[in-house]
C-alpha cells in the first residue's frame, strides 16, 4: 500500500498539495480501482481514426458530446417579457475564463437586437460639452484588456433561507462568470466631454426595453470602469450588452449596464428603481443599505459539489473558484470536517485583481461522511465569513450580496449535498 506515503495536512483526509503533482504515484495505483481498459479486450483503433472528418468551418462549434453543458434558466414568465436569469454550469468548467456562450445572464426586459450602425452613446449632464459617439468611432479609441469576474448581487442568496435547498454549484452559485473584457477606459470619454467639478455621479442607461439605469460614483467612473466592446476577444455577445456595456470591475453585476447608450453626469444619484427598490439590503433593524458596490471575498468548491456522486473511495482533486471585489485572492483554505481543521489549497491561476482564481487540493475519501468547505482571503486581508456570521451581520430579510462559506456534505454513499453547519 502507498497509504503511508500520503502526507495529511488537515482532518478527514485532506492531503498535502504536493500530492497534486504525484496524484498518480500516491493514489492511482493502489487506492483507485478504475481502469481505462475494458475487461478482456485489448485496445483497438477507434472508428474515427479510420475516416476523414469534416474540414475547416467558418464558425466553430463545441463537441456534440459536450452539448449537455448548458446555462440553467427559469421558465419564461408571460408577465415578465424577456425578464429573468441564466446560470453558468460552474461544476463542469475548468480554469478561470467562462466561455461567452455560458456566461451567466440577467435581463430585465429581454435582449435587444441592436444594429450597431444605429446605436449611439451619449454623454450629457454636468459636462463642458455633451457628446454623442458612434460605434465605429469608438472602435478607433485606444483600448485596454482586463480579466475580471462579474457576479450578480443576488448570487448565492438562497443560502440565507432557513433550510438548505437541494441545489448544485450551478443552481446555487451560477450567477458568477469571468471573462477578458476589452474596451475604452470610461475616463477617456468623460475627459473628452469635460467633467464639471460639481459632477459626483454618472448615471448609466441601457438601450434595452427597460432602459435599465444605475448611478456610478464619479471616483469609480474615473478609476477603472470600461466601456467594454469585446468579451474574450470577440464583440460583446448580445446577451452581455452588444454592441457595448459598462464594466465596473469588482462591483455588483447590475451596475455594469448592458447595451450602454447614455452616461449622464449628475451631482446626486438618479435614484433609479434598480438602486432603490431592488439591489438594496434590508438589515434586521429595518434600515436598508443602498449602494453596496464591491462584491464580497468569496470562494466555492465546484468539485465535488451539490448533486454530484462520488462513485469510488480514494483520492479526489477538490477544486473550485475564488474571487473578491476588493482585490486579488491571496489564500484559499479547505476543510473536510465542516470547518474544524483547515489546509491551504494550491492557487493555480495568476491571482489577478478582481478575477476568478482556481484552487485545488487533494483529498482522500475513505467512505465516511465529510463536510467540504472553502474559505478565501483577499489581498486586502478580507476573509470569507461563515453563514452564521453573515446572518448575524446582515440578517435574512434581503438576500443580495451573500458571500458566506458554502458547505457540501458527502454522505457514506458518496452523495454530495448543500448543507448548513
Amino acid at each position: 500500500m502507498t497509504q503511508e506515503k500520503l502526507e495529511r495536512v488537515a482532518g478527514n483526509g485532506l492531503l498535502s498539495r504536493r500530492h497534486l503533482l504525484g496524484m498518480g504515484l500516491a493514489g492511482a495505483g493502489s487506492v483507485m480501482t478504475n481502469s481505462a481498459l475494458g475487461a478482456d479486450a485489448g485496445l483497438q483503433i477507434p472508428s474515427w481514426s479510420k475516416v476523414p472528418g469534416p474540414g475547416a468551418s467558418g464558425y466553430g462549434n463545441r463537441s456534440s458530446h459536450t452539448e449537455h453543458m448548458q446555462r440553467m434558466s427559469g421558465n419564461p414568465n408571460p408577465t415578465y417579457p424577456g425578464g429573468g436569469a441564466s446560470r453558468s454550469p460552474l461544476a463542469e468548467l475548468q480554469g478561470t475564463i467562462t466561455p461567452n456562450s455560458l456566461h451567466f445572464e440577467r435581463h430585465h426586459a429581454g435582449i435587444p437586437d441592436i444594429d450597431p450602425s444605429m446605436h449611439k452613446l451619449v454623454i450629457n449632464g454636468l459636462v463642458r460639452q455633451p457628446l454623442v459617439f458612434d460605434y465605429e468611432d469608438l472602435l478607433k479609441y485606444p483600448m485596454v484588456s482586463k480579466i475580471h469576474f462579474l457576479e450578480c448581487s443576488g448570487n448565492s442568496g438562497s443560502l440565507l433561507r432557513p433550510s438548505p435547498a437541494d441545489g448544485s454549484a450551478q443552481s446555487l452559485h451560477g450567477l458568477v462568470s469571468c471573462a477578458e473584457w476589452t474596451g475604452i477606459p470610461l475616463s477617456t470619454l468623460l475627459d473628452e466631454a469635460g467633467v464639471d467639478p460639481a459632477a459626483q455621479w454618472v448615471s448609466a442607461v441601457g438601450a434595452d426595453a427597460a432602459s435599465m439605469g444605475r448611478s456610478v460614483p464619479i471616483d469609480k467612473a474615473m478609476d477603472d470602469v470600461l466601456v467594454a466592446l469585446f468579451q474574450n476577444g470577440e464583440p460583446v455577445r448580445p446577451e452581455q450588452g452588444y454592441p457595448m456595456r459598462l464594466f465596473c470591475p469588482g462591483w455588483e453585476g447590475n451596475i455594469s449596464v448592458k447595451w450602454l447608450t447614455q452616461l449622464k453626469l449628475t451631482s446626486e444619484p438618479s435614484q433609479f428603481r434598480d438602486e432603490t427598490s431592488k439591489y438594496t439590503d434590508t438589515l434586521p433593524d429595518r434600515n436598508s443599505l443602498q449602494f453596496t458596490f464591491p462584491m464580497g471575498t468569496k470562494s466555492l468548491i465546484t468539485s465535488p459539489s451539490g448533486q454530484m456522486a462520488l462513485n469510488r473511495q480514494g483520492i479526489y482533486q477538490v477544486t473550485g473558484i475564488a474571487w473578491s471585489g476588493r482585490g486579488s485572492i491571496r489564500r484559499v483554505e479547505v476543510s473536510a470536517d465542516g470547518g474544524r481543521s483547515w489546509a491551504d489549497a494550491e492557487i493555480e491561476s495568476h491571482q489577478s485583481d478582481k478575477a476568478l482564481a482556481r484552487f485545488r487540493i487533494p483529498w482522500e475519501w475513505s467512505g465516511g461522511s465529510a463536510v467540504l468547505q472553502s474559505r478565501a482571503t483577499d489581498s486586502e486581508g478580507n476573509v470569507q465569513p461563515t453563514r452564521d456570521a453573515v446572518l448575524a451581520d446582515h440578517g435574512r430579510l434581503s438576500s443580495y450580496h451573500n458571500h458566506c462559506i458554502q458547505s457540501w456534505a458527502v454522505n457514506s454513499n458518496g452523495g454530495v449535498a448543500n448543507v448548513y453547519v
Partner: protein
C-alpha cells in the same frame, strides 16, 4: 480623477508645454465625439431625478390614472395593485411588520421621483414607452393613491411629485458613503 491625479496631469502638461511638446500631446488624444445639445436630447434622456431635473411638463390625478391602470397595468399588477406574481406587487407592506416585510412602492421606496422615472422608461412591461407623459403622470398618481399616499384628486406634476415624502424616505443608509 483625484486631486492628486489632476495635479500630476497639470504638472505633466506644463512640463510638456515648456519643452514644446504640447501639440504632440494634443494630437495623440482622439476626440471623435460629436457635440450635441441638451435640447436635442430632450426626447432621448429619460432620467427624472429626485431634484426634479428631467421631468416633462404635464400633470395628472389618480382619478384620471385609474383608467390607464385598469387597461394597461392591471393584467400583470391586478386591479388593486396587489400583483399577480412575486415581483409585480405594487401596494401594501410595512417595514416594521413581523417576519420579512413586504417591500413595495408604498412601504419601501424612498423617492416618489423613481415611480415616474421607472414607469416612463420600463412600463407597461409588454409595451414600454407607449404611454404619453400625461398618462405617466396620471398612472403615477394612481399607484400613489393605491398606497394611500395621495388623494384621488391630488394633481401630480413635477413640483408636487418631488415634494411628496415617501413613508420609508429615512429608511436607507448609503453604504457607499459610510464605508
Amino acid at each position: 480623477m483625484s486631486m492628486y491625479k489632476r495635479a500630476l496631469l497639470f504638472i505633466f502638461s506644463v512640463t510638456l508645454a515648456s519643452i514644446g511638446f504640447v501639440s504632440f500631446a494634443q494630437d495623440t488624444v482622439l476626440k471623435l465625439g460629436s457635440p450635441i445639445s441638451e435640447e436635442q436630447l430632450s426626447e432621448f434622456d429619460l432620467i427624472a431625478g429626485p431634484d426634479g431635473a428631467g421631468f416633462p411638463s404635464g400633470s395628472g390625478s389618480a382619478a384620471q390614472g385609474k383608467q390607464v391602470f385598469d387597461t394597461r397595468c392591471a393584467a400583470c399588477h391586478a386591479l388593486t395593485g396587489e400583483g399577480t406574481s412575486g415581483n409585480t406587487v405594487l401596494v401594501g407592506g410595512d417595514m416594521h411588520s413581523e417576519g420579512s416585510p413586504l417591500r413595495t412602492v408604498g412601504s419601501y421606496w424612498p423617492h416618489a421621483s423613481t415611480l415616474f422615472d421607472f414607469i416612463r422608461r420600463a412600463m407597461p412591461a409588454d409595451a414600454p414607452k407607449s404611454l404619453t407623459s400625461e398618462e405617466v403622470y396620471q398612472v403615477t398618481a394612481y399607484v400613489l393613491y393605491l398606497n394611500g399616499i395621495v388623494d384621488q384628486n391630488t394633481v401630480i406634476n413635477r413640483e408636487t411629485l418631488i415634494a411628496i415624502e415617501m413613508p420609508n424616505k429615512d429608511g436607507f443608509i448609503d453604504k457607499n458613503q459610510v464605508r
